[in-house]
């Protein structure tokens, strides 16, 4: 909420100009992230008091001009136009001092509009290291607006924000008379639609002509740009760009003095040149990329494990402490707290280490300038599949967990390409599926002879599952991109910024922001679903059975303490859990869906496990423990569970878990969207239930069909 006395400050600038780093430095951890209405672009803003002046600072997506080409630029342009209309808004144009001529083009474009603005120059430390001299005053006099050193922005911003002085805008070049005439009515309509304070100025006409030249017809409609003759607009647009470029080059030349010869590279550019000689080399480049990605996967898999275990232990201890406060006479409340609320909290916070690590890593690669190089190397490969070049890192991190991976697809600018990536991401076989694979392989493939006498069957099956997962993801992406989510591949126009050492404080702020967003938005959904699942597995209860178990337990309690008593107590508790489960909604649903899943080789117990695995994939294992009356602390390495599964028979006496039914179950696990956290993450990222529900349905149908084919074909071929 912005108080009326608060001045708005809008940070705008080219991509890589250092805008976000500056925003993080100005606002620290106070920034709030909100999805910009209707699109998946984020708006980050914060209200801070600098030098006694209250300021509402907003970061905008990077843009090259006021003519939007993608969703994120569209948001930035809308914010600038709203600033024109709103008044009391200071536009701070962030300009990279090492790329001055190019960055000043945007300044020149903004100067055509009647906006209170200042220019903040970043990277001046690099300019100084390169031995160049930057003349801020000279630039200010040429631009006609104040120019400040970005390092001192927090102290100079309050004065500029409170004492805004408007300077007359720079006029764009004159247009042919007939263009001006034909643009007058649409320009007036545009001014009214955007509630701009001034009439149809030359800036408005220039914007319309240029917007018309570049926009697709649907974008023209959404931006209310009326129809006009195409070629004229394009010529006008080209003239406008060229004039801004000339103005920018002149201003840049007079503001930066250098002792170097024109052809000589600056120190920072030379370092980048040398590093790129390796990083973008035809052979070495892909090797470096593979090494980085290997490091990422390694970090996500192994470094996060101890952290996740630590968090889990902490939640458990907290849970135990809280549960202990509840009298033992209220077992249901205890169960709700322990298995519903705290289990839900545990499910949510378990993601924090991986999310933090992935975003730290991605932020590091992005801020250092390497991510753009990765896109350069991967563009061809990914385009062939139909996936966006930037989809590579999210897909890869899907091997660890789909939730942070879905959040990280934000770096894909095209809305449809991003959606394609998010929709196929759950097919990347995440680490939570590993315990399930491990249990099934140990149960049914342990006694199968090794392939060629040396390779254990389990290894072959595991490789097969990962191959299936990658194939499904790539084929799914290609199919979606060519059918329901067909869209033109946006042109790849990337700047390869000079390498820079990322600012750790800014990275830290960004990571905290991500984690907080996840906890608030997706976390609440995950917690709610966990509690619902808990209820489904607890109710209804059979009073007679409950009383019988109560009596048995009370009887046991009277015996003197001994090892035998402890084992007996555990056995009876496990039996009661088994009985409760059978009687619960989940157990009944498991029985109800048995006819549906029987053709896949599953019985009702696996059905219950599949339902439970919606909470988290690995819960399948502990649920099977419950179903078989072994208690819920069974894991994939526990011998009793493996033996129990291996010995389990169907009603007709045939073995339930055979290599074939095991394979069918694993295929189902690879392909089904069995994860409420992914569901919650997708709901947050797409802003509604439509896509997650469609994804859940589609993936379940595909998984069912695939498992059906595996089991029935296998049977027809005489396998078991």
């Amino acid at each position: 909420v912005t108080a009326s006395s608060t001045t708005r400050v809008l940070l705008v600038g080219n991509p890589n100009a250092g805008k976000t780093t500056l925003f993080n430095r100005l606002t620290g951890l106070r920034a709030k992230t909100a999805n910009y209405a209707g699109v998946t672009v984020e708006e980050r803003s914060a209200t801070v008091t600098l030098g006694g002046v209250p300021l509402h600072i907003t970061d905008t997506p990077g843009m090259y001009s006021l003519i939007p080409r993608a969703d994120d630029e569209d948001v930035a342009v809308q914010q600038v136009l709203q600033a024109c209309a709103h008044g009391r808004t200071l536009v701070v144009v962030v300009v990279d001092g090492t790329q001055l001529a190019r960055n000043l083009q945007l300044v020149m474009h903004l100067r055509e509009w009647d906006l209170p603005m200042i220019v903040a120059v970043t990277m001046l430390d690099i300019v100084e290291q390169d031995g160049d001299t930057f003349h801020l005053e000279s630039l200010a006099s040429q631009l006609g607006v104040p120019v400040v050193d970005a390092r001192q922005l927090s102290s100079t911003l309050p004065a500029h924000a409170s004492g805004q002085t408007r300077v007359p805008p720079l006029n764009p070049p004159p247009m042919p008379a007939d263009v001006t005439t034909s643009l007058a009515p649409p320009a007036n309509a545009f001014v009214q639609a955007w509630k701009l304070p001034t009439g149809a100025t030359p800036a408005v006409r220039a914007w319309l002509a240029q917007a018309y030249a570049v926009l697709r017809p649907d974008q023209r409609t959404s931006l209310r740009v009326p129809s006009m003759q195409g070629n004229v607009a394009a010529d006008v647009a080209a003239q406008l760009v060229q004039q801004r470029s000339e103005r920018a080059q002149q201003a840049a030349m007079r503001s930066l003095s250098t002792a170097r010869a024109p052809a000589q590279m600056s120190r920072s550019r030379f370092l980048t040149h040398v590093v790129d000689g390796v990083a973008l080399h035809g052979v070495l480049g892909p090797c470096v990329l593979l090494a980085w990605m290997g490091l990422l996967l390694w970090a996500l898999f192994s470094w996060s494990a101890p952290l996740m275990d630590g968090i889990d232990a902490m939640v458990q201890r907290l849970s135990a402490a809280v549960v202990a406060l509840v009298p033992a006479t209220m077992p249901l409340l205890r169960s709700l707290l322990a298995d519903g609320v705290f289990a839900g909290v545990g499910n949510v916070v378990a993601f924090v280490p991986q999310i933090a690590m992935l975003f730290f890593f991605l932020g590091f690669l992005e801020d250092s300038g390497y991510l753009a190089r990765a896109a350069f190397l991967l563009d061809r490969l990914m385009a062939r599949v139909g996936l966006h070049g930037r989809a590579f890192v999210p897909l890869l991190s899907g091997f660890a967990c789909a939730v942070p991976a879905i959040m990280s697809t934000r770096s894909i600018e095209s809305k449809r390409d991003r959606l394609v990536t998010m929709l196929v991401l759950p097919w990347m076989s995440c680490s939570a599926r590993l315990p399930v694979y491990a249990l099934i392989i140990a149960t049914v493939f342990a006694k199968v002879p090794p392939v060629f006498g040396v390779v254990p069957m389990g290894v072959v099956v595991m490789i097969g599952m990962y191959t299936l997962s990658i194939t499904a993801t790539l084929v799914g992406g290609a199919v979606l991109k060519r059918t329901v989510l067909r869209s033109p591949s946006p042109p790849l126009l990337l700047e390869l910024p000079p390498y820079r050492w990322p600012k750790l404080s800014s990275l830290f702020i960004a990571v905290v922001g991500r984690v907080r967003t996840f906890l608030i938005d997706a976390g609440t959904t995950i917690l709610a679903i966990t509690i619902v699942l808990w209820a489904l597995f607890q109710f209804p209860r059979d009073d007679v059975t409950e009383q019988r178990f109560d009596a048995t337990l009370a009887e046991l309690e009277r015996h003197p303490d001994s090892d035998h008593k402890t084992t007996e107590l555990q056995r009876v508790q496990a039996e009661r859990a088994q009985a409760r489960l059978q009687h619960s909604v989940a157990g009944q649903v498991g029985h109800a869906i048995e006819p549906v899943i029987a053709p896949l080789g599953f019985d009702w117990r696996i059905g219950v496990g599949l339902l439970a695995s919606f909470a988290a994939r690995e819960v399948m294992v502990s649920t099977l423990g419950l179903v078989y009356g072994l208690g819920d602390d069974a894991d994939e390495t526990s011998e009793p569970l493996r033996e129990r599964l291996a010995a389990e028979r169907r009603a007709d006496g045939s073995l339930l878990y055979t290599p074939l039914s095991g394979l069918s179950l694993m295929v189902f696990f690879v392909l089904a969207m069995q994860c409420m956290s992914t569901f919650a993450a997708l709901k947050r990222e797409t802003g509604g239930y439509r896509w997650p529900v469609l994804q859940l349905l589609a993936m379940t149908i595909i998984a069912y069909t695939a498992s059906l084919c595996v089991f029935q074909l296998g049977r027809a071929l005489g396998l078991s």
Binding site: Y64, R102, A238, V241, Q242, L377, D379, R380, P491, P497
Partner: protein, 79 residues
């Protein structure tokens, strides 16, 4: 130098300095390339080409741009 004698930037041998003459057609993409610095008169060179028909890396007044070959071919330079 007229636009008819110019060649697409993708036909320049790597590292040869040249300068932009103009764009072959005015489109959303070529206007963006101009906004990124590829305006007539700007010095330009191909730094390297990504393997397997991937994008090209251009140096425009010290800025490094990564552009798909198909899009870069619309930028015309002095031969």
């Amino acid at each position: 130098m007229t636009i008819h004698q110019a060649i697409p930037v993708t036909e320049l041998p790597p590292q040869r300095m040249s300068s932009v003459v103009g764009v072959r057609i005015l489109s959303s993409t070529t206007l963006r390339l101009m906004e990124m610095g590829l305006v007539p008169g700007a010095p330009v060179r191909v730094v390297r080409v990504a393997p397997f028909g991937g994008p090209v890396e251009l140096d425009v007044m010290g800025t490094r741009l990564c552009v798909r070959r198909r899009d870069a071919a619309d930028v015309l330079v002095e031969p």
